[in-house]
Every structure is written in structure tokens, then in C-alpha cells.
Symmetry: C2
Subunit: 354 residues, 2 copies
């Protein structure tokens, strides 16, 4: 069964395994640590699509030289703006280094903008929100990705599923983290439905002719629809402007998919805006306001049938606590792929607990 | 008929009328010009909900002293961050002055953040995007507003319809302007359906118990649903954090509705982030990239039944050109209200052309 095929993995051991494989591929220990931490953290938070299931494709592309194991990440500063050439690094490496450089700039100016080009898939945007929140900073993060969403009125994907994320630190509660793609649904869910021969709900996708379809196989020939129709299209476009056009990265269909064969780098771009909250108001005052805000939202009278009103970041945090305690369940297919990597790189895969 | 009841108004004359009324109310000429320009520009662009139909309520609240005619707008700078006390000005006045102060900061630092508190309804966010684009700058703008959207799982509105806007300058084409609320639909459309005894589509609203409804009257007892479900909820919350919590403004249900009677100021907050594009790359290079981006999007193969692929800002610009030429049509109810203001303030309402 998906999710609990072969027991549960200890998070720290799984992180150590990923780090070991990445180091065997030539990544410096600090870079390997960031990538491993980002992947395992995604699993802990229930975002399995951005977790250790990505390690095999990362490893393959690094091995082939299509992603750089020892990139030269170059940061150029102008005022409070950082232009970063990711050197075709793994996206986590480019983004982490870019944000490390940006944090002191935000201390100095109150705000810092970061444009990253020549990068790759950066994992979850939530990861960078958490990094900012630890510094008492808010973050707006975007990234582009290979084509998945049609422009409104079109029948061919142009934009990636282009997430936008917002992170806001809190005092006691888990941080407020909004991390949403511009699409109605992840393409992975359509792939799954097609594999199982199931229909998909209306409003998810169009076929190759741009007609709405509930046939999962036909949808895979077409494209995913933007969130809420024209508004999601507009959002995907704004994210592409920030992450792709303005950063100097590839944009639209010029962003290459690491899952497809071929030698070109992905050319992914990211955009980050860091806000040092202490410049807006004393942190104590800010935290008191956030406490009130969250408290009021959670106390909203519930709709019929709803158990609880959650705020963005809460579900992710609960999963994190639960899986940190119970371990990470992985589907059999992922375990098999990791075992293969273990053999290839001589890094033992930790045993799962029953 | 809505939209073309009594002929068409010449935009400049209509602007002059609005300016005259606002000056009679005590606004300084420059402030009156900005508000009048923002309102008429909204009509020209087809956003009638934010056009001259707002003048009567603005006038009433200024007359009652609930909105300040001669506000002290105070701007405090710290690094590249501006904290602005709007002095309970009309939102257009506070926002325009705040952005005027922020533009030189963005020249200096490459980026500037502006947090406005103690403000009011600021008209369309697109207006400020246009202001930034004229300076070769991109803008991210948000504002909160009186409660309209339910938290996901709740049955009582907490957030405003909380728009987020993105403006990006272009060389030849109309600027790229995304200006979207976090709700599925404007509350005004539900009011209209209720007046006409028509049902509303599923997915627009919940009734007073938080149950989805297609009964427009029941929906007015409940709340509008967020765009795309939980994602729109998360977006409304992020906009509220930026515009309300972080700015020091009112937030959630503490934002007062100017349409409701009572003495309290609205306490609306806005957030602006200005990006001076020349810090990202030479403007010529940027414009060439945007040209390519827009050209490719417009050349996307069309879906069955779609006539054209438009980018955000194009429809607005076409309406602007058409109405600048043909004049602005106003519904009879709006004309009656304006005629009443004309009598009250001794400012003649211009005649409409047939």
C-alpha cells in the first residue's frame, strides 16, 4: 500500500542516508546536508511529492553532469537586491546560499530581494519560509517550473505549476506558512488516476484540444487548469514574471524538465523577498497581533460538518510532530529506488521499523 | 439598462466634476485630483464597481468627518521600509502620497516596502501598479477590506475580499497588471442576483450556517467563498497579514465598512513592495524578455471555442481605449446620485452625450 508498505524510517537516519548519497555524488557536506534536510523535512510535513522520492532523479542528473555537484553560486549585490547565478546547482543549494547572503542585507535595509537564475527544482517553498521565520523575518517566495498550466483560452501548457509562498513567524504557534501552486491540482494526482483507470473531477484539466475533460488519460495529453480559472492563470503569470523573466532565468516552455532526457540544464528561476519584521514594529507587538489574529481565526464559528478551522502551516506542523515521533512511511516503489541508490553509492539504507 | 441608461460621459469632464465635489468637501486640489482620477480611470477600464459610483459614499463619510478631508499623512522611513500613518485619509490619498515617498527609496535601494495603516478604501490596486510602471518599476500591492470571506471550515466572514496585485512595465504593449481578489466572486454580483431573484452558481457562497448555497438571498446572510477553496483562504490570510497585521492597521472584522453607519474610522491597511527593475537587469534587456514572454503567451494554440489568449491587463487597456474615445456609460441610479451631489455642492454635473 502507498504510504506504509515497508514500515517507518527514522527521520535522522533517512537524512543521513540522503546526505551520504549526495556526498558520494561529489556534493560538499554542507550542501548535501541542506538538500537532505529539505527532502526529509518535506516527508515529515506530509508533502511526500517533494520528499526523498526526488533523490533518485537528483542523483541521476548530478551523475550525468546535468546538475552541478560543486556549483559556483555567484551573488551580486546592488542596493538591497541580490542577483544570484545558481551555477546550475540543485535548487536547494542555490536558494539556501542566496538566502544566507540575503539575511544580512535585510538586517541592514529592512527588506531584501533575491533573484536566482540558472537553478533547479528547489523542493518545497515552505522550507525557505521556515528559514526566514527563524530569523524573525517574513518571506515571499516564488519559483517557476517546467510547463504544466495552460494560459486561459489556450490548449497548450506554458507556465509551470508556479507556486507562491508566504511565511510569517509566530511566537508560540507553528509559523503561518502559505505554500500554494497556481494550479487546481498537482499533475501527480492525474497520473495516479490514469494508472488506476479512474476519472478525474471536472475542472481539473483539459485534453489535447483544450476541452475540459474528466478522462485522466486524455488530461495527460493536455494540461492542468489554473486555480480558479482566469485568476490562477494571472497568478501563474505573475509568478513567472518574478521568478523567470525578472530573474534572468528561463521562462515558460524554455524551463527544462529534469524528468525528461536531454543535456540542457533546467534553467529554473526563483524569487525571494525577505522582510525584517522589526522594521515594521517591535517584535513583541507583532507577535501579540499575530496571536490575536490566529486566535480569532481559529475561534470562527464552524461550518456544518467542519471539525476545526486550521490556519495555513498548522496541518504541516502537526504532520511534522507526528512523523518525527512515529517515523516516515515510504511506498515500496520509493524504497526500491532508494535501495538501488544505496547499492550504487555504497551507502547503507537504514532499516525501517515495523 | 445597467451601463447605458443615460448616454455617455466625457472622461475629463467627469473627472472635473468629481474633483470639484471633493474640493467642495475640503480636499486640497492635488488630493482631489488623485481621487477623481482613480475613480474615473476605474470606469474607463471597465471596473465600474470601483469607479464614480463610490463618490457618494466617499462624500458622505468625509462630510460626516468619518474620513479626513485634510489628513496628516505621516511617513516614517527606516532603511528601505516606509511606515505610513494615513491619517484616516481617503485610501487613494494615503496610497498616492506613500508611493510618491517610496519611489525615491526604491531608486536608492532597488526595492522599497510600504506599510500603510489608518487608511480607507483605496480604489483599484491596478491604479498603483500603473503608477509604478510609469517609473519603470514593478509593484506588489495588497489591501485588506471589511469582512467578506470565510476562513475554510468556518461559517462567518473574517477576511475582506483582500486583493493582491502585481504590476510589471512593458515597452510597447499595455503593462502586465494582475489585480485579483481572494474571493471567487465580488459580493456585488450576489447582491444583483438577489435583486433579480436569480440563483447563483454553486461554489460562490455559503449561507448563514456555512452550507454551500445557490440561493442568492441566503448567500447574503452568509459569506462569499474564497477563490479555489482552501488556496483562496490561504491567500486572503496572507494578504491580511501583509496589509493588516504587519502594517499596524485594523485586521479581520476590526476593519469597519464605510457603507455601515457608525463613527469609527475604517482602519484599512495596505502594503506595497516596489521593485526598481533596472537593478535586476538593464531595462532594454528586461523589455525584450517581456516582449518575448507576452508574444509567446498570445501565440499559445487556442482552446476549442476560445477567440484569443489575452494577458492580464490587456482587457482593461482595451476598455480604456474604447471608453476614452466613446465616453463612460453610467447606470441611471449612479447618475441620480451624482446629480444629487451636484445640487448639494453646487458643482454642475456635465451633460451626457447621446
Amino acid at each position: 500500500m502507498k504510504g506504509d508498505g515497508i514500515g517507518r524510517y527514522h527521520p535522522a537516519k533517512l537524512t543521513g542516508f540522503c546526505k551520504g548519497v549526495l556526498e558520494s555524488l561529489g556534493l560538499p557536506p554542507e550542501d548535501a546536508r541542506v538538500v537532505a534536510d529539505s527532502l526529509v523535512r518535506a516527508n515529515l510535513e506530509g508533502t511526500d511529492s517533494h520528499g526523498v522520492s526526488r533523490l533518485p532523479i537528483y542523483a541521476r542528473r548530478v551523475r550525468e553532469g546535468r546538475i552541478s555537484a560543486r556549483p559556483e553560486v555567484r551573488v551580486e549585490r546592488s542596493g538591497a537586491v541580490l542577483r544570484v547565478d545558481g551555477g546550475n546547482a540543485l535548487g536547494q543549494v542555490a536558494s539556501y546560499r542566496a538566502l544566507e547572503a540575503a539575511i544580512p542585507v535585510a538586517w541592514e535595509a529592512g527588506i531584501a530581494a533575491v533573484a536566482v537564475r540558472n537553478s533547479n527544482h528547489f523542493g518545497t517553498a515552505a522550507y525557505y519560509c521556515q528559514m526566514a521565520c527563524r530569523e524573525g523575518m517574513a518571506l515571499i517566495a516564488t519559483t517557476n517550473s517546467p510547463p504544466g498550466i495552460v494560459p486561459w483560452g489556450g490548449r497548450k501548457a506554458y507556465f509551470g505549476t508556479n507556486p507562491i509562498a508566504f511565511g510569517f513567524p509566530t511566537r508560540r504557534e507553528p509559523p503561518v506558512i502559505v505554500d500554494m501552486s497556481s494550479s487546481v491540482v498537482a499533475r501527480g494526482k492525474i497520473i495516479l488516476a490514469a494508472q488506476q483507470g479512474l476519472p478525474i473531477p471536472p475542472g481539473w484539466a483539459v485534453d489535447g484540444e483544450g476541452r475540459e475533460t474528466t478522462d485522466a488519460a486524455a488530461a495527460l495529453q493536455g494540461a492542468v487548469l489554473p486555480l480558479g480559472g482566469p485568476k490562477g492563470y494571472a497568478l501563474a503569470l505573475a509568478v513567472e514574471m518574478l521568478s523567470g523573466v525578472l530573474s534572468g532565468a528561463a521562462f515558460g516552455p524554455h524551463v527544462n524538465n529534469i524528468y525528461e532526457e536531454g543535456a540542457s540544464p533546467s534553467g529554473v528561476g526563483h524569487s525571494f523577498i525577505l522582510l525584517d519584521i522589526a522594521r515594521w514594529m517591535p517584535l513583541d507587538e507583532y507577535y501579540a497581533r499575530v496571536d490575536q489574529f490566529i486566535g480569532e481565526i481559529k475561534a470562527t464559528p464552524r461550518a456544518a460538518g467542519a471539525e476545526e478551522v486550521l490556519y495555513p502551516g498548522e496541518r504541516r506542523y502537526r504532520a511534522f510532530l507526528e512523523k518525527t515521533r512515529e517515523g516516515i512511511a515510504l511506498p515500496e516503489t520509493v524504497v526500491e529506488e532508494l535501495a538501488e541508490l544505496a547499492g550504487q553509492y555504497g551507502v547503507p539504507l537504514p532499516a525501517a521499523a515495523a
